[in-house]
């Protein structure tokens, strides 16, 4: 996590990305590498296999940023990425996990 405090974080607009990927080692590195090379903090990550396990779904919670649209296009370009969907920050996937992240 970066150095901004909780109130500042709440004030920032967020986006939730839903990314369908092939399920094999290295895919997560490909995806998050596109964020880290820009010093773009990923606030939340969730990943589980779907269906028969040949694919996984990665959920990312990220800050809104002018660069986000282009980064999504770059994520979409990755060979192992099947689809990227963008949701608002109020998407249930992370809010329902809050119980696991109490200090």
């Amino acid at each position: 996590m970066n150095a901004i405090n909780k109130n500042e974080q709440a004030a920032l607009a967020r986006a939730v990305l839903e990314i369908d990927v092939n399920n094999h080692p290295g895919v997560m590195s490909h995806v998050v590498g596109l964020f880290s090379r820009r010093a773009f903090n990923v606030e939340g990550i969730l990943c589980l296999p779907v269906g028969d396990g040949r694919q996984s779904r990665i959920w990312l919670l990220v800050n809104e940023d002018a660069r986000l649209a282009q980064m999504i296009r770059q994520v979409d370009k990755l060979e192992d990425v099947i689809a990227v969907r963008r949701h608002h920050a109020d998407h249930a996937v992370f809010s329902e996990l809050e119980a696991f992240f109490r200090p």
Binding site: P25, G26, S29, H30, G33, R37, A69, Q70, R73, Q74, D76, K77, L78, E79
Partner: protein
């Protein structure tokens, strides 16, 4: 028919089936099973580089000259890390490459085994895609797929890391997969093409801006047809030089940091910029906010992530540029555009590109022009990186797509000699000239041995000013003339070094008639180093200072 083959034999067989006839590389422990299988191949010739980076650039030279996917190989650990620069260079210039590296056996991965590095992890950000192969069966899928990825869409390098035990694993092969080939993207959106044509037809001061994608997609001819039909003055990026002959009446040559003054000033005045296979690189645009300030933008590119990345386009078209231009051409009206063409001619007269001493073969421009006069358009021209590269980009009459091999995006010193060897290997009928500098050549000088061994028809023109010219220039102009680490105190005897490494060499400094000496050296088949001292005080002008707007260029 079922055959029992090892992973290494499968890999080589798949390369043969891909049509690969030359592979370049450097062996080592973790790739020896593949080298053993390669040695048994009667179809593939192996070119032994003298450094893995050299192998990477030789493969790049083959790919750049032909447009076909080229293959290089290295062992694990230092072999793989030495390849990385050449792979990163291929990524930035969208060059189709398949790099195959050996890896320690799977059971030893992660143990800091001898010559183990995380090649897969290291190569993620500098490849288009990469694979760590976990079984011999997987090779049947991965190798054709690597070729398909390298060649499709925006081309790029693909790395395949193969653990040694996967190379030795024997399996029954009952059938072979289809070759991996270039997959075409969907055609350009007709409505967007029609809107673009309307915009071009309505524009009063349009400019065509060609990038390396025009060369990659084979669209140079149709781009010139479009320019001629609608009288579109045309600028080219460093990567696109030769897509339109640079002495074509509509050509304004290279734009950007070292473009001609009239070229950058024309961009300032245009009301429509038609960007084709170009990516608005900072060396081309200068300060982005001041780039083509009055222009609407049509941007055609095969990579959707390039559209709207630097400049928001009024019409963004995601397509193969050859296909898109083919659709666009019949919809664009003929137009003599006299006022604009006259204005361009006036800019060319008022702000010409000056080549001082172009008639003197002992000057930098004179040397380049004299060499050009010794050659026709069939010659291939490679460069290293530095002042000489920019002078050749400015002064050499490049007239043919794929005539020009230069490290554009990454700007890698040491690129020139091995890339030129690759071009000469791929197209032995051509004369290949590599312009280099006294800094750049030392970064891969060991490849002179390769050039001698392969007896390639390569002329290396070493423009020696005993300085790191572009560093010297920036320190002089922007760092208060505090020259530091940019003037070489010790200077090797390059002519003697070339001969010691096994190729012929001539010293123009000692020649009574430099023109005659040049012609003789170029006409003699085989590799030759041509050494020429040049003046260290010469600058690459015009120059847009870093961060400045293109209109604020200095010099000449």
């Amino acid at each position: 028919m079922t055959e029992t083959l090892t992973g290494a034999q499968i890999a080589i067989r798949l390369l043969e089936r891909q049509g690969i006839r030359i592979v370049t590389g450097y062996p080592g422990g973790a790739i020896l099973p593949i080298y053993d299988a390669l040695g048994q191949s009667s179809i593939i010739r192996h070119v032994l580089a003298r450094h893995e980076q050299g192998a990477g650039f030789i493969a790049q030279g083959m790919a750049r000259a032909t447009g076909e996917v080229a293959v290089c190989m290295a062992s694990s650990g230092p072999g793989a890390t030495n390849l990385l620069t050449a792979i990163a260079d291929a990524k930035l210039d969208s060059i189709p490459l398949v790099a195959i590296t050996g890896q320690v056996p799977r059971a030893m991965i992660g143990t800091d085994a001898f010559q183990e590095v995380d090649t897969y992890g290291l190569s993620i950000p500098i490849t288009k895609h990469n694979f760590l192969v976990s079984s011999a069966e997987e090779l049947l899928e991965v190798i054709p797929r690597a070729f398909e990825i390298a060649a499709s869409g925006r081309p790029g390098p693909v790395l395949i890391d193969i653990p040694k035990d996967v190379q030795t694993q024997a399996i029954d092969v009952t059938g072979w997969p289809m070759q991996g080939t270039r997959q075409m993207p969907p055609p350009a959106d007709h409505a967007a093409i029609a809107a673009a044509a309307e915009m071009i037809n309505a524009a009063r001061r349009p400019l065509l801006y060609l990038g390396g994608g025009v060369v990659h997609s084979g669209a140079a001819t149709v781009a010139v047809d479009l320019a001629e039909k609608a009288n579109l003055p045309t600028v080219m990026t460093l990567m696109a030089l030769g897509a339109m002959p640079v002495d074509h009446p509509l050509s304004l040559g290279m734009l950007g940091m070292h473009g001609a003054r009239y070229c950058n000033l024309a961009l300032d005045e245009c009301d429509l910029l038609i960007a084709v296979g170009a990516r608005f690189d900072d060396r081309a645009t200068g300060k982005v906010a001041a780039f083509c300030p009055n222009a609407q933008i049509i941007h055609i590119d095969i990579d959707p992530a390039e559209l709207h990345k630097i400049k928001t386009a009024h019409i963004g078209i995601n397509a193969d540029v050859l296909e898109a231009l083919g659709q666009l051409l019949p919809l664009v009206s003929e137009n003599d555009r006299k006022t604009w063409v006259d204005r361009i001619a006036a800019l060319k007269t008022q702000f010409p590109f000056v080549m001082p001493d172009a008639g003197d073969p002992r000057s930098h421009f004179g040397l380049i022009r004299t060499i050009a006069a010794c050659l026709d358009d069939e010659a291939a021209i490679a460069t290293d990186v530095g002042q000489h590269q920019m002078w050749v980009a400015q002064a050499y009459p490049l007239r043919r797509p794929r005539q020009w091999l230069t490290s554009g995006g990454l700007g890698t010193m040491g690129f020139g000699v091995p890339a030129a060897i690759g071009a000469a290997l791929a197209e032995p009928q051509r004369t290949v000239v590599c312009f280099t500098g006294d800094g750049s050549i030392l970064m891969n000088i060991q490849e002179l041995v390769t050039a001698g061994e392969e007896n390639v028809n390569l002329k290396i023109v070493l423009m020696n000013n005993a300085t790191l010219g572009l560093v010297h220039q920036q320190q002089t102009l922007f760092y208060g003339e505090r020259l530091f680490a940019s003037k070489f105190k010790a200077m090797p005897d390059f002519v003697g070094a070339a001969r010691a490494l096994g190729i012929a060499a001539v010293d123009l400094d000692q020649a009574a008639n430099p023109c005659a000496a040049l012609m003789e050296a170029i006409a003699r088949p085989g590799p030759c180093l041509i050494h020429a001292s040049i003046d260290a005080e010469q600058k690459v002008y015009p120059m847009v200072p870093p961060g400045a707007a293109n209109r604020d260029m200095i010099g000449a």
